[in-house]
Symmetry: C2
Subunit: 141 residues, 2 copies
């Protein structure tokens, strides 16, 4: 599983660079669904010369290869997830964090939709909005 990115980049004719590996690794090691800016700041200490433009360009490639998925939970910016499995996301309307919702079997629901549209479906994203446990405590009413 690990190191797969190297092979997948080369297969598609992309070069393997430290920046690309670092950006993917950052996404693999977090569940916080960071934006480009967040990834950039995360890598700043390790790669002081890294630019935001490189983050965006790398994200574009990783998306194309299918190594990451792109999220927009109603914010101004996009977030990225190295877990490309089909799972819903939930955003806290108070603190802004975005979490995974795991363990949901949505095939039946998707089939139902498929039968109710004339589109040929290729994918989907389910976003939920609410208040996270921590923010429920802070403001309990």
């Amino acid at each position: 599983m690990e190191g797969q990115i190297t092979a997948m980049l080369r297969e598609r004719g992309f070069k393997v660079t430290p920046q690309r590996l670092a950006i993917y690794e950052t996404l693999r090691q977090t569940k916080s669904h960071p934006s480009a800016e967040m990834i950039f700041h995360e890598l700043q200490p390790l790669y002081p010369t890294m630019s935001l433009a490189t983050v965006y360009k790398t994200i574009e490639i990783l998306k194309e290869i299918g190594l990451i998925q792109v999220l927009n939970a109603g914010e101004d910016s996009f977030r990225y997830d190295a877990d490309v499995s089909n799972h819903p996301h939930v955003r806290c309307m108070k603190c802004g964090r975005v979490d995974d919702i795991m363990g949901i079997e949505s095939e039946d629901f998707i089939d139902l939709i498929s039968q109710n549209t004339s589109y040929k479906l290729t994918g989907q994203q389910f976003y939920f909005y609410g208040i996270c446990p921590k923010c429920q405590i802070t403001t309990p009413h």
Copy 2:
């Protein structure tokens, strides 16, 4: 049902202006889920002096009052829908159009999610991606 916007604006202390009525009416009379820019261009002939800023400011109010809902189907810009009922949307990856998916009962699915997260849920958006009927014909493979 019609003219409700007038009362709802006044109730909240907002003034009723031709621009606000026109922007809401544009959204009520379409199913294309226009962006701010699209609304602006639609109204340009009728209101030559209308500005994009007014469109954005009005959208902010309509959203606050609950007369419209905000969508982001993975595009750079937001889209707006005067149908605030809870229904999924689908975007064509080829031509970019965004359509409603009606007639879906999603309560059971939402309940299932509700039981699988520690968030206190307040809302959700379901986005599907695919190819619309027209684009399926144009490129049939």
